[in-house]
Symmetry: C2
């Protein structure tokens, strides 16, 4: 990424359901300027783009204007790299297919690339994070859902339609007892290892035991992995059981993913990672137990090194260099 | 693959545990000359290479000699594309790591590439078969084992070590009841959908029912998918149940694989495919039932169009063009 005599900055846009955060990023991954607008409140996408440009202007001025910007990368829910569109995103107010790249390209006069959040995170890790220099790794994002970005031979896997890499929807329980998933099927990894999955596990584990636990004092519908972490720090057995259960499923699933692309690393990102060794130890244990012999000892299991607040913007910016 | 003014042929070597078949292949995928030697009986790999060259000579003479050969491709068990070696192949008499590409390069003076059987099959389909022109597809080989070759963006996925694409070892039954696999684990897809897997299913289904079946006349340890096909043709319900069970697992697993690389096709190859609609119908049914919404209707489920006897040699030859 040494680009002597080239334009020295890119714009990264992390578009969430609530906020849209813009960063101007240099080649070393420093966010030199940042701004944000509300994603919501723009029923017309053109108004969203107009407000974005307006908010960006002071940041652009700081780096000498748009002439110094090489391109823009957008990480957005249901972002499609091939078409530069956002397609049927359930958490955004624009329905159908939104030609987001085209709209920003017209408004800014620079090339714009779009991808989904997890793919952007993978690009961010490869450009600026723990996956720097890696050619084959799998990013697993543990948030409201479970997302993934798969890098093979130095490139993101997009598949035939731009939507490859939905490992959160690998089915880990094919029995009738599989948890119902938002996708309409049962037993997806996401139902167990997302934020809501962990809360659900907590409810189940609390219900089937009488042991005292600090988790019993919380609203059972909204227990977060951070709550579970705090309970684990107090030595709570139920909290430890929740992490063991969640980590076992993640580690076992990563062993399955390895049969696909034999990566040199899995990189985990998101709230669950804040639990540190409480979650990473059971992931590693299950991975080692379940991994096929020929892959043994080859993949590292890593936690993202990017700061949570910056990671999404850096990830989005990373595809702006292309 | 239009190579005007280039050397017009490649050598393909399909190395099996018993036989090694060599073909000289033109750019359209015609095998213009063919020869074979026994793989076994050469405890020293140098003797194997020497015998191969000797056997190849008349075929080379037919096409004007080695000057007309662009390269050689080898499909071999445990073949590693990165290193050009065969590594710890349980069914070959050479132990440890065999530098097969280097040995043939020295002997023939042309570039030599190695990969495993399933990857070679994928290259063959992409160069000459039903996957011609496709950039994203997954080859599933149903033989003694279940192998796979994954093509992403027009290239085989090799991973960090050259051994990516072992989808036969995706675990489809994580319960204690999962069948024991040769890999030392339990419940791998291969234990159900390989030749021995189908025979095992047949034994189980025959044991748990009293219904008459032509399959009862056969040696239960060696029932093949072709035997089951012949029984199905006679309207045998147990045979139909065996195909439904096997196809359900394959279709469901392909739906899982789609979450990885969102392919435009799955291409099936091997003995089981001879059962035609008896196996393909349940595969398609299960795939449609289990596939994630966003991928619905995107991937074709195809049977290899290459003749069984030629496919492996053509597949191996395909990597010789690189």
């Amino acid at each position: 990424m040494e680009l002597a005599n080239e334009k020295p900055y890119v714009i990264g846009l992390d578009m969430g359901g609530t906020n849209s955060v813009f960063g101007i990023v240099d080649q070393r991954g420093n966010i030199v300027a940042q701004t944000a607008i509300k994603t919501k409140g723009h029923p017309d996408i053109n108004d969203y783009v107009k407000d974005s440009i307006e908010a960006l202007q002071p940041a652009l001025d700081m780096v000498g204007g748009i002439e110094n910007i090489r391109g823009m990368g957008i990480g957005a829910p249901n972002g499609n790299y091939y078409s530069g569109t956002i397609e049927y995103a359930p958490n955004l107010e624009w329905k159908g297919i939104v030609p987001i790249a085209e709209l920003f390209e017209k408004a800014l006069g620079i090339p714009v690339r779009v991808t989904n959040d997890a793919n952007a995170a993978a690009m961010g890790e490869m450009a600026y994070g723990v996956a720097k220099g890696m050619k084959n790794f799998i990013m697993i994002t543990l948030g409201t859902g479970v997302g993934s970005g798969i890098v093979v031979d130095g490139k993101l896997v997009y598949g035939c339609d731009g939507f490859a890499g939905e490992l959160g929807h690998l089915v880990v329980d094919h029995t009738e007892e599989g948890r119902e998933c938002g996708c309409g099927r049962k037993g997806c990894l996401e139902c167990y290892c997302s934020a809501t999955g962990v809360a659900r596990t907590a409810r189940e584990f609390l219900a089937k035991s009488d042991a005292p636990s600090p988790l019993r004092e919380l609203d059972p519908d909204n227990i977060t992995s951070f709550d579970v972490f705090q309970a684990a720090e107090k030595g709570d057995q139920i909290a430890l059981d929740i992490f063991n259960f969640t980590g076992e499923l993640l580690g076992r699933s990563c062993a399955d993913f390895a049969t696909f692309s034999s990566p040199e690393a899995f990189v985990f990102f998101g709230g669950l990672c804040k639990a540190g060794h409480y979650i990473m130890d059971p992931i590693k244990k299950a991975y080692d137990e379940h991994i096929l012999n020929i892959y043994k000892g080859k993949a590292q299991l890593l936690v993202s090194s990017l700061k949570g607040s910056e990671a999404a913007v850096l990830g989005a910016s990373a595809i702006g260099w292309e």
